[in-house]
């Protein structure tokens, strides 16, 4: 078996909060609570789950933008936690990120050309200025923009065009891994499909590997090879796309899938929905046992007492549920 490009083992990230003025109120946000997964070269792993479940934090830990509380992250064979700043810088070039909001992630005072040229210059990927300009034009072309766009400022572009610039900026570093954090959520429906197609084309062309974070399950199914479902800091289910969507084993995954309305009124009229009770609990004070048990339609006594481990129920299909 080929070695994974990225391996994440027992990743934990806690944020201490409170203290400050009102001492004693301090607590800890258990944003990521023991997450394990790997991604093969050229693969797309989808990461889904509701707001606050720890998707972005997981991505930021992988990118080393956040110092993990504990756990191991192995990228291109190197364990990141032990690396010197110097080594880390080189390794990090090979992992890039595309953000949800293309507007706030682009410097409004720089032209698109400068936004793309700067990292190439800083990291000395291309030192000759003329060649750098050529590289910028090439990047623009690769993401479906024109050379003229290099002279524009971010506010002179539409949302979809700005996201293309975000993609080009990630490509500029010739990464092997791109963490895509909700790359299409802020875009109009008609533009989302353009960007998804672009990401897929680029993946095929450059052999890219994606960690694709999103809350839209239809989009995630389309783009991912395998999908991990998170709930309150934990992965509750992980499987290849087909198995996850056709035979979900975790009651939370099933509820998520049933909550997605399908654009077909005839189908919807016949469709039963599992509507979950209650709200997502706070990661400051997660429930005992299985964190999903207070909302789970099939919970039994054991679920509030014992944390279920993520088990391989069928080959390649993992679930953290006592009843799976």
């Amino acid at each position: 078996m080929s070695q994974a490009l990225l391996e994440v083992q027992d990743l934990v990230k806690h944020f201490p909060v409170g203290g400050g003025l009102l001492k004693g109120a301090a607590g800890v946000v258990r944003a990521v609570e023991g997450v394990t997964f790997s991604i093969q070269r050229g693969e797309t792993l989808g990461l889904v789950g509701e707001s606050g479940c720890g998707k972005t934090t997981t991505g930021r830990c992988v990118l080393q933008l956040e110092q993990p509380t504990s756990g191991r992250i192995v990228f291109e064979g190197a364990e990141l936690t032990g690396l010197s700043q110097d080594k880390l810088r080189t390794v990090r070039r090979h992992m890039q990120v595309i953000f949800q909001d293309p507007y706030s992630s682009l410097n409004p005072r720089m032209t698109v050309g400068d936004i793309l040229a700067e990292p190439i210059k800083v990291h000395r990927i291309v030192s000759d200025p003329a060649k750098r300009q050529a590289r910028v034009r090439e990047l623009l072309e690769q993401v479906g923009l024109h050379a003229q766009h290099a002279r524009r400022y971010p506010h002179q572009l539409s949302g979809g065009q700005r996201q293309r610039v975000g993609v080009a900026r990630a490509l500029a570093m010739q990464p092997s891994l791109i963490v895509c954090d909700e790359p299409v959520s802020a875009l109009d429906v008609s533009i989302q499909a353009q960007i998804i197609n672009l990401l897929e084309e680029l993946q095929a062309r450059f052999g890219l590997t994606y960690l694709f974070i999103a809350h839209d399950l239809s989009v995630v199914r389309h783009i991912s090879d395998r999908v991990a479902v998170m709930y309150l800091g934990r992965i509750v289910e992980l499987a290849d796309r087909q198995s996850l969507y056709d035979e979900a084993l975790h009651p939370y995954t099933r509820a998520l899938l049933s909550a997605v309305p399908i654009p077909d009124p005839k189908l919807e009229a016949r469709r039963e929905r599992t509507v979950l009770r209650g709200e997502v609990p706070s990661p400051l004070n997660p429930p005992s046992g299985c964190v999903f048990h207070p909302r789970c339609p099939i919970a039994v006594d054991r679920c509030s007492a014992e944390i279920p481990a993520l088990r391989e129920i069928k080959p390649g299909h993992w679930a953290a549920c006592h009843l799976a």
């Binding site: 509701e50 539409s158 109009d188 969507y245 998520l256 469709r271 709200e279 997502v280």
Partner: protein, 329 residues
């Protein structure tokens, strides 16, 4: 069923530094009693402004309702005094806003926000208003409503605030609710809770509803009839079943084809609508969708009007017949 709200040729504009924005550019739609109608379309196409115009809450003086009629129960709302309009907003038409925090008062208790309207518009005495408030909170599924009355909006989660908005909108027994993206800011499982709740309540209380959304799945599940907007105009109008089965405008067709669907086998590639949504201050002559349209012909330089193509089905496209033939083939 009788027509409850009839919007006729409504035009609303905004004066901005980059020119006049024709946010709503001559739209007509209606809602019958007890019915749920959807307004769908992409960001900036004029959905919120349409609803705000009905409530006469358009930001003045930059924003202006230029012309048209908004006939509610036989009266043109545009001809009412501000005083009369306040009564309509309080009693007749409830609104649920896109972002609940902007429409809840952060320094007023949950209880007071509910009882105020009940006292003013329903003439209730404080104890009566209070018990009605408790009843409303319980109805929208807020646990322990008695205790909640003394809390403030920041004590509520996003989902609970949205429930609170629904309770406020329904408190005075309105005939119509305008729900502007009532669940877009919420999580998928909470969205499902809220939408199911709204549908059940609307059915039980016989309230008509306008749902504004960009989610085609939401429309399919909850709407009886649909208006598709593009760049300030309605480009297609039909019953939900008809619209999804037989789209008759290239934009609607494009939207339906561009979204991946969980109920269908995964496609190798998505079919996006090419190009960008238009800038409302620099609209092209003629059909605003033409620059992105695969069916474009010379005639698209003229604005196509919304014409009937069958029972209750209207499309604003010169090439609608060709589209229908091609889809049938």
């Amino acid at each position: 069923m009788a027509t409850l709200l009839d919007v006729r040729d409504l035009k609303t504009t905004f004066l901005t530094s980059s020119g006049v924005v024709r946010a709503v550019d001559g739209v007509s739609w209606d809602i019958e009693e007890g019915e749920t109608v959807a307004l769908v379309g992409e960001s900036g196409c004029g959905k919120s402004v349409s609803a705000l115009s009905v409530m006469r809450l358009v930001d003045e003086p930059a924003g202006r309702i230029e012309s048209g009629e908004i006939v509610y129960k036989g009266r043109d709302l545009l001809k009412l005094s501000e005083e009369q309009m306040r009564h309509v907003r309080g009693r007749e038409i409830g609104m649920i806003f896109q972002e609940p925090m902007t429409s809840l008062n952060p320094v007023l208790s949950i209880g007071r926000q509910l009882t105020e309207g009940l006292e003013i518009h329903m003439g209730m005495k404080p104890p009566e208003a209070r018990s009605r408030a408790v009843e409303m909170l319980a109805m929208v599924g807020i646990p322990d409503p008695e205790r909640r009355l003394g809390q403030y909006p920041h004590h509520f989660s996003g989902g609970m605030r949205q429930r609170m908005m629904i309770a406020m909108a329904l408190a005075c027994n309105p005939s119509l609710i305008l729900a502007d993206e009532p669940t877009t800011a919420l999580d998928v499982t909470i969205q499902a809770q809220i939408l199911e709740l709204m549908r059940d309540l609307a059915r039980r209380l016989g309230v008509a509803m306008l749902i504004i959304t960009h989610n085609l799945g939401v429309v399919a599940r909850y709407a009886d009839r649909v208006n598709v907007m593009y760049a300030g105009r309605i480009i297609e109008q039909a019953s939900a079943t008809e619209l999804y089965a037989n789209p008759r405008h290239p934009y609607t067709l494009g939207l339906l084809r561009s979204v991946p669907r969980l109920d269908e086998p995964r496609r190798a590639r998505l079919d996006p609508i090419e190009g960008q949504p238009p800038d409302l201050t620099r609209l092209p002559e003629g059909c605003a969708f033409a620059p992105r349209c695969a069916y474009r012909v010379e005639r698209c330089g003229e604005v196509p009007s919304l014409v009937a193509l069958g029972a209750g089905h209207r499309s604003a496209c010169w090439e609608a017949e060709r589209l229908v033939k091609e889809l049938a083939a």
